[in-house]
């Protein structure tokens, strides 16, 4: 597809000359490749695309995307991107972050960006570990995890990033898997099309410090563990599509046979986030399946647009700002 300047872009155009410095086998490679393949589809010129990241292995990402980019400081990428996106609505802004970067030190910026619905896309590479600092547990590590900093096991109940994002009023929430290029591209596409903040959790394998954390869905050849969410379709899965999800009167979700009554039809555009939230509680451990795809995708006024609109209205009402007049406003007097 050609970009807004008429250039035909390919994945190669999005590669930089920097040597990629992740460990062999790191899931980040697959995400990078998927992203580079996907970008041309957007038809946005490279110079109008910006990747902003924090610190972490994941946060190296911008160095490898031949667009504008900033590898900023730990946890602050959503804040930085907020300033960029609100002043430059012409840009396509992407935030790349890790589970530590986004949910530990950066948790507050993340939830505020989501509630504000700032127009950028947040890709959270979740490997359930601190990779860059060599293997301490993260806010998504499972309870009891033995890591360098928790020799007897971690004590903190983990965040469910999808639940957290929905609780923080996110308008777009999705999940993808590093090795699932097709699924990831679908989610990325929907995220890119969404005006406002889009939050995408990507399960990412860290073979060095937390190998196989997501093996159940990464390598789900038989398709027995991935529950693909598609808007408007019944939520079913299993080798033969025989399993399905259904909601109980107590608000929770149970597994049933696809043939049974009351199978949930996925509605990612429902204004009320309750069902998306309930779906976020469906996990491999509790339900024997893991939803991937778009949980929630609703329209809501976008912070940046509202701001631009206020500027327009103010100018319309008061006229374009006149500096001389401004300085002379209020009570003035002349000394001669």
């Amino acid at each position: 597809m050609s970009d807004d300047n008429g250039h035909t872009l390919t994945a190669k155009d999005f590669r930089t000359d920097q040597e990629v410095r992740w460990c062999p086998g790191c899931g980040d490679y697959a995400i990078l490749a998927a992203m580079q393949s996907f970008m041309p589809e957007l038809g946005i010129a490279r110079e109008n695309t910006v990747f902003v990241s924090g610190i972490g292995c994941a946060a190296r990402f911008p160095y490898y995307m031949n667009t504008y980019g900033m590898h900023s400081i730990h946890g602050r990428a959503p804040a930085i991107a907020t300033g960029l996106a609100t002043t430059r609505p012409d840009l396509s802004v992407w935030v790349v972050t890790g589970d530590g970067d986004a949910l530990s030190i950066g948790g507050n910026h993340l939830i505020h960006a989501l509630r504000r619905n700032i127009n950028f896309k947040i890709l959270l590479f979740n490997n359930r570990i601190y990779g860059l600092t060599k293997g301490q547990y993260s806010p998504t590590s499972e309870l009891g995890k033995v890591t360098k900093s928790t020799p007897m096991g971690s004590l903190d109940w983990p965040f469910n990033p999808i639940s957290l994002a929905i609780g923080a009023e996110a308008t777009f929430v999705g999940r993808a898997i590093d090795t699932d290029k097709k699924g990831m591209t679908e989610v990325l596409r929907a995220a890119a099309e969404h005006r406002g903040s889009a939050f995408v959790e990507i399960f990412q394998n860290c073979p060095i410090f937390n190998d196989d954390a997501f093996e159940f869905v990464r390598d789900d050849k038989e398709g027995v563990n991935r529950i693909a969410l598609h808007h408007g379709e019944p939520i079913t899965w299993g080798a033969d599509g025989e399993k399905a999800l259904r909601q109980l009167p107590d608000g929770t979700i149970e597994v049933c046979a696809a043939s049974e009554d009351g199978v949930l039809v996925h509605d990612s555009s429902h204004t009320e986030p309750s069902l998306a939230f309930a779906l976020s509680r469906v996990t491999q451990g509790t339900h024997g399946g893991t939803p991937v795809g778009v949980f929630r995708n609703v329209e809501r006024a976008v912070y940046d647009d509202l701001m631009a609109e206020q500027l327009r209205v103010a100018e319309k009402k008061r006229g374009k700002g006149d500096l001389a007049k401004l300085l002379h406003s209020g009570e003035t007097w002349v000394v001669s």
Binding site: V50, S72, I80, L327, W333
Partner: protein, 618 residues
């Protein structure tokens, strides 16, 4: 009750003090307007109560406003009032100590009830126990008189009527000092006439009643006149520091042609900059009230990357949180102005009180060698110029710049000679638009003169590049762990900032007769009292030189020469000696400090004595 004699005064200092709900700030600023329009030079100092509205009548709930007006140019709101207007016992209690014996004291006699006396901690009424004998006491039943004057105004509740007593006192003071109440009537009209005509009426009536009371009462035998001051001709406006700073930022946006982006989180005494700027949307100003100070600074860095004039504002406890982000901006070499409206600390400290405690913090409060220019404003109206200068340096040198003001400048006001737009500097930056090394773009290839790197904003085709907080290779900006490169880059960053010395004016010394042996060196918000103190010392026939720093980093290139020219150097500061440490270290000059950390502006009289003692010593 004929016309009373008029006594000429060259200057008067009036302090209004009352309960937070008594409208003292409004009274004070209206009296200020009247004085300004009459052509006096003026200087004001509001004194807010502790940040929470304390219960009515309590000591912590007292709010004050001091106005100094004169027939000549003045430098400070004055150390001590000549006239104190106290609306209740608590206001009297907290302010009396500042009134010199013999001073004029006007109190609302109605407010001296048992309950109020008790709240203020008076065992008996000071109006009756003789304790005020040494003052010119005028107990006026302000409340009764006000309520009486308003009895015919319809639609006003008794409480509202009572609350107009501040206008009564303003009327009385206007009469006493021969000021016209017309500007205040105009102000009240604009503020209330449309929305609440009855309140408008009540206020005007009270104002007029106060004025008339002055004319008729026996209590005041003379009135006073303070002639207009001989100020530089031109159009003036009364302005507070935070207003001037905000206007300076808007002006910089226009002068640079860049849209203004402010990232801020509310904090006393900086919040009003956010509030001011939020109201300039027709100037394309974007204000972002962030979730915290870190996000505020971060968003500003993002905006700077995108090509905006990026600002973040706060006070000490919030500025300290921005340090990591400023460190990033130093590494990214992007323009950013961080305004620190200093307040008394450490920690939460005394949020509404001024201090100069953050100088060393802004210079050094970041990990590792992270040099940054620092600019400080000297007076309320000077905040305008200081803001433009901070923006100029930030944009030209692609660097974060700290702009220091304080709680006193922020809320204090003075007449501001409005600048001609043409005299303001052109701040237009040059954005990179094409490769700068053959057909390559090197984001860290520096301008030879300024050492600034190119500013290539997203949207510019062909200049796509990535920057970040890791050490970067000279020229290319790629990540580098090379030892010599790090040493080089560390020195380059330092040199870039140090080099600004050649781009700022030399330090000017005010040494009228050139015979001074003592130099007083000040910076920032103490300009007024320090200059006033120097003036007093000279009036006593003693020579003293005075210099004042706008740039704290780098220091003007002649600073060392200036300091070494004098036998003694005194550095007055509202801290324990921060500039002092800098000049001693840089110039090995045995300068001494004059330090007060009282959360109130330095007092010119005390400082004058200290200077005089130094001049006299040996």
């Amino acid at each position: 009750m004929g016309i009373k004699p008029v006594e000429q005064l060259s200057q008067v200092i009036v302090r209004f003090a009352g309960d937070s709900g008594d409208g003292m700030q409004l009274t004070g600023s209206q009296f200020t307007s009247e004085a300004a329009l009459l052509g006096n030079d003026i200087s004001t100092l509001p004194d807010f109560p502790a940040e929470i509205r304390a219960p009515a009548g309590s000591l912590p709930g007292v709010s004050g406003f001091q106005l100094h007006f004169a027939d000549h140019d003045i430098l400070t709101p004055g150390d001590a009032p000549n006239v104190l207007v106290a609306m209740n016992p608590a206001a009297l209690k907290t302010n009396l100590a500042d009134l010199p014996k013999g001073g004029t004291l006007i109190v609302d006699a109605d407010a001296f009830t048992d309950r109020n006396l008790q709240k203020a901690g008076y065992a008996q009424s000071p109006l009756e126990d003789g304790s005020l004998d040494e003052y010119q006491l005028h107990p006026v039943p302000l409340t009764t008189l006000t309520v009486g004057a308003l009895k015919d105004v319809e639609g006003v509740t008794p409480r509202e009527a009572e609350r107009s007593k501040n206008m009564f006192s303003l009327g009385l003071m206007s009469w006493l000092y021969g000021r016209s109440i017309d500007p205040t009537i105009a102000f009240l009209e604009e503020k209330f006439a449309a929305k609440r005509p009855e309140i408008y009426q009540a206020n005007v009536k009270a104002l007029q009643a106060g004025y008339a009371f002055g004319e008729t009462t026996e209590s005041f035998a003379v009135t006073y006149e303070v002639k207009p001051a001989k100020l530089t001709p031109g159009r003036y406006r009364n302005i507070t520091g935070n207003q001037a700073l905000s206007l300076g930022l808007v002006a910089s946006s226009r002068l640079s042609g860049l849209p203004l982006f402010l990232g801020a989180y509310p904090i006393t005494p900086a919040s009003s900059i956010l509030e001011e700027l939020a109201d300039y949307k027709e100037f394309g100003v974007r204000t972002f009230q962030a979730e915290d100070e870190i996000a505020a600074a971060g968003a500003a860095v993002g905006a700077a990357f995108g090509g905006a004039l990026a600002i973040t504002t706060s006070a000490g406890p919030g500025v300290v949180l921005k340090a990591e982000t400023v460190g990033l901006a130093i590494m990214l070499e992007l323009p950013l102005v961080i305004c620190d409206i200093q307040r008394a600390g450490p920690s939460t400290g005394m949020p509404t009180k001024p201090e100069q405690g953050d100088l060393l913090m802004v210079l050094y409060g970041r990990n590792s060698e992270s040099p940054v220019p620092v600019v400080a404003a000297r007076s309320p109206s000077d905040c305008f110029d200081a803001a433009i200068e901070a923006c100029r340096i930030a944009l030209k040198y692609r660097t974060p710049v700290y702009l220091l003001s304080d709680a006193y400048l922020a809320n204090g006001s003075e007449p501001w000679l409005l600048p001609e737009l043409e005299t303001l500097p052109d701040l237009t930056p040059t954005f990179a638009t094409e490769p700068n090394a053959g057909d390559e773009f090197l984001p860290y290839l520096r301008d030879e003169q300024t050492l600034a790197r190119p500013w290539a904003v997203p949207g510019t085709p062909g200049l796509e590049h990535r920057i970040g907080g890791l050490e970067k290779a000279d020229r290319t900006g790629n990540i580098s762990y090379d030892p010599d490169n790090h040493d080089l880059m560390t020195r380059l960053r330092a040199q870039k900032v140090a080099g600004i010395a050649s781009d700022i004016p030399e330090l000017e010394v005010d040494d009228p007769d050139g015979d001074a042996k003592v130099l007083v060196l000040g910076w920032g918000g103490t300009y007024g009292p320090v200059a006033a103190a120097a003036r007093r010392v000279r009036e006593r026939g003693k020579p003293v030189a005075h210099a004042h720093l706008r740039h704290l980093n780098p220091l003007p290139r002649n600073t060392g020469d200036v300091l070494r020219r004098y036998e003694k150097v005194l550095v007055p500061e509202m801290n324990l000696g921060q500039l002092l440490q800098l000049v001693r270290a840089q110039f090995l000059v045995d300068a001494a400090g004059y330090n007060q950390v009282r959360g109130v502006p330095l007092r010119a009289a005390e400082l004058a004595d200290a200077i005089e003692a130094l001049v006299d010593s040996e």
